[in-house]
Amino acid sequence: MVFGRSESADTMSDDGPRYGEPGGSQFPITTALTFPGQEVDKSLGMVFGVVVRSMGLGKNITAGIRSLAGGEVKQYTRLVEDSRRHALDRMIENGQLIGADAILSFRLDSSEVGQSLTEIVAYGTAVTFKKQ
C-alpha cells in the first residue's frame, strides 16, 4: 500500500490527520506494535478476517493453460489480490464491531483449501487509544 496523497483525493483536506492516523479518513492499521504519537489504552483482543475464494471453472481452465507456458499467471494473481482485499475488509469490519480505534500488528496468512481454493486470513490486535 502507498500512503500518499493524490490530486483525485478531492474530499480530503490538506489539514488534519492523514490516512491511517487516528481520526483520519480511514481506519488505522499498522504492521508495527505501536502507533506513533498514540498510547494504547486497552487491548480488545485479536480480530480476524477470513475468506476462501475460488476462481471458477472458466478462469481455472485459462489459468491452467497459462501455467503450462510459464511466467506469471495473472488469473491466480488476481485471485490472491481479491482475497487479500476481502480478508482486510472483513478484519476492519470486525475491529469496528468491537469499538477498536486501531488495529496493531496486522498480518496476513494464506493457505490452500482443496484444489484451486485460496484461503487468506488477516489478523491483528484491536486496541483503543487514550484520549488526548
Partner: protein
C-alpha cells in the same frame, strides 16, 4: 441418462461463462455521490491499475481505479 448428462453439461457450461464475468470484490468503476476517498492507494498486480479505496456512507470500503496505469 441422456437427459441427466445434458443437465450436467448445461451446468458446467453455465459455470464456465459465469466465472469469466464474476465481479471483483468491492470493485466499482466510479465512486457514488457521498463517498469519501482515502489515501489507501495501491497498484493492482493483476491489471496494473492504480486503485484507491473509497468509503461509502456506511463506512464500507470500495475499490475504484484511478484511471492511470503503471508501466508493467
Amino acid at each position: 441418462m441422456g437427459f441427466v448428462f445434458l443437465i450436467i453439461a448445461a451446468v458446467v457450461i453455465g459455470c464456465f461463462f459465469i466465472s469469466l464475468f464474476v465481479r471483483r470484490h468491492g470493485e466499482s468503476e466510479k465512486p457514488q455521490p457521498g463517498w469519501r476517498s482515502t489515501e489507501e492507494v495501491f497498484n493492482d498486480p493483476s491489471t496494473n491499475r492504480v486503485m484507491r479505496v473509497w468509503l461509502d456512507q456506511k463506512g464500507e470500503r470500495h475499490y475504484i481505479p484511478e484511471g492511470t496505469r503503471r508501466a508493467s
